[in-house]
Subunit: 401 residues, 2 copies
């Protein structure tokens, strides 16, 4: 489906119009929480120490040396620099947090254990404060996605089947999930406040996001039950049928058959129904059960491999397109970027010409509402809104930096 | 921090008390969206076709053969079975969605293109409907986490540095993120409805969650800018200093130094400050810049490796504990599960004795609010609440299954 990304003179205001959030935190979790709120229409003020937080020059860098990472995570926000080492800067921050009327009084931060940012200190001025704190470890100690992932057990369940060592995820998935949970927690608390007048102090340790998620999905309960650790599955799916199949041209295609319909369709496309039926009888297996497809995956994959190995990516795609099989070619980032650039406007990611960045791939998030996407907002310069925001929202209109 | 998980006779109601959500979807994205809403206090009714959706026996399985995966994703929900192939079952589903008064009229689903579930059909009975649809591909076609990840470009940026092929994530990170975005979208739409009376149709393709996230973090803009694909980094961090270091006992420890303070602390702990300073001069580098630490990571890691290779996990931990370095041992799932079981009550994951599951690791999500966690809820049996929910919420009190 193609939706207009811009060109609409009066885009509908986002659903969170009227909400005002102050964000104090760097890297992914807190900035992505603020970003989700901003993309849904909230006003988000990101506060940084003078010169920027440690993420201000984080790779990758754009044409002009500015961080594409910082740009992506802070698009559409107002940027305020404060001297957070000084009492005046700390007081200005607290004033910003408490400002904003009924839709304000919201703080997102990953700072913990700072007396000048203590919940009860802020709550004195704003009893209905919504304070969402993302910490690292559950005990309050520092941690980042990569250390949390190492400690979670997941890295030893990732990568090649014969792999001996842990394999990290390239995606900071725990940070992103923590950020989304934090944005959700802001809205849950705002609903509670609207109903009762009460504020909320919500704590979300990154470590608990990982442990709780690995419990919900069964990884940790299974390990507790069996006393063993699930080994890495390579590119196969655990407990069902899915694998990366090499093709004649050296590329690979991911195929997945979760349901009976998808499985039967895979047998049909690859012409392996008769061989697989004979195997089923000989092995006394029931391949309508995905667990049994998983147990016998090696022989099943071996039976199918020749069909894939004899076909180019184009030929395999041609056959799979008409089937019920879930499939996708494995693509490289540059191919995806080129395709998105060629596709132009209309998707969740599109190419835009921007001052300082040149032609750039941009996004306003994955959601569309009532067939509209949010219009493209611009990337702030660090500190660009310091004076205007302080003048608007604090009593002392001198710049305390 | 240790919080009570149970024993509180009158736990505070969650912030979303009064919200009623109907969920129709299987596997991870939609069930995890419903779970987040439920853990924050909403009433969530999961509807399945008779006999259950295709995820009902998904591995891993518990002691009694029930799916630990299904249990984790549906804990605390009400389970309703309907014959969704029949007009009566479809009508009952629509009636459930539209019920619930001011806090009801909310549907989370991954079904698309079903005429009987069309947005405008439901909206006729409930103009303020909140309809959140998670589809697979952006064009509406089917896709799952593993095919979306293959197509996103990320798998070719994951795994060993010298790896030739794509490496999938073991975590269905896109599903989890899509679920959290969907839960967020429900609350954003509920806020909009409270302010304006208007409903929302929100569409969230799994593919767009991946592409938008990889754009926000700079992966795709970088590939567009350079025309090349970021190669896999092994267990190192891109653009900064972080790596998995092998220890004397065969285990590994993840170390990360993002800031100047963390970097200087790492040099101090490992006793490499003088060698690194000499290198800095000889290489005409400036290691206070994380980008330069990344460029020269091979030689820097080689300088530090002997310190780690000479120490056991315990010895390394003893030295790192007092430092500013971010670090964690790589653990296996069974170690993590054993530690959580031994730790008992108080964390986000704890052991509980449950009918049908025995001693089991359980969670009510990562968040605590005002120093309370939600109390443990129970796992429904498939269809356990069919009669009670239909009797309460539909006009025709006969069971249409």
């Amino acid at each position: 489906m193609t939706l207009p990304n811009h060109g609409s003179a009066n885009p509908p205001a986002g659903p969170l119009a009227g909400l005002q959030v102050v964000e104090l935190g760097s890297f992914v979790a807190i900035p992505s929480a603020g970003l989700a709120l901003r993309q849904a229409g909230a006003r988000v003020i990101r506060v940084d120490p003078v010169g920027g937080a440690p993420d201000v020059r984080r790779w990758p860098l754009g044409r002009d040396g500015r961080s594409l990472y910082w740009a992506g995570l802070n698009r559409g926000k107002e940027s305020v620099e404060l001297d957070l080492a000084s009492a005046a800067g700390q007081a200005a921050l607290r004033e910003l947090v408490c400002a904003g009327g009924a839709g304000g009084g919201i703080l997102l931060t990953n700072l913990a254990a700072k007396a000048w940012l203590a919940d009860d200190l802020l709550r004195r001025d704003r009893p209905d404060l919504i304070y969402v704190q993302v910490t690292g470890r559950a005990d309050g100690g520092p941690a980042v996605d990569y250390t949390v992932n190492a400690g979670s057990g997941l890295a030893y369940a990732t990568g090649p089947e014969d792999g001996m060592g842990p394999v990290n995820q390239a995606l900071p998935a725990w940070d992103l999930l923590a950020g989304c949970h934090a944005a959700f927690a802001v809205l849950a608390a705002a609903r509670h406040r609207a109903a009762t007048g009460a504020g909320t102090f919500c704590r979300l340790p990154l470590e608990d996001v990982a442990l709780s998620t690995l419990t919900t999905l069964g990884y940790l309960p299974e390990a507790q039950l069996t006393g063993t650790s699930r080994p890495p599955q390579g590119n196969q799916l655990y407990g069902t049928f899915g694998a990366a199949m090499p093709l004649a041209d050296g590329s690979q295609v991911m195929i997945v058959a979760l349901t009976g319909r998808q499985w039967r369709s895979l047998l049909e496309v690859t012409g392996t129904a008769a061989v697989v039926a004979a195997l089923e009888t000989a092995l006394e297996a029931d391949f309508s059960d995905e667990g049994q497809r998983y147990r016998h995956r090696k022989v099943l994959l071996a039976v199918m491999q020749p069909w894939f190995a004899a076909r180019s990516a184009e030929e395999a795609a041609g056959a799979l397109r008409g089937s019920h099989v879930l499939w996708s070619p494995f693509r490289r980032l540059a191919e995806v970027a080129a395709d998105l650039t060629a596709a132009g406007d209309g998707g969740a990611v599109w190419p835009a010409e921007e001052t300082g960045f040149g032609l750039n791939l941009v996004t306003e998030g994955p959601a569309s509402r009532d067939s509209h996407r949010p219009p493209l907002t611009s990337v702030p310069r660090l500190g660009e809104h310091t004076e205007s925001v302080l003048a608007e929202l604090t009593a002392d209109r001198t710049r305390p930096t």
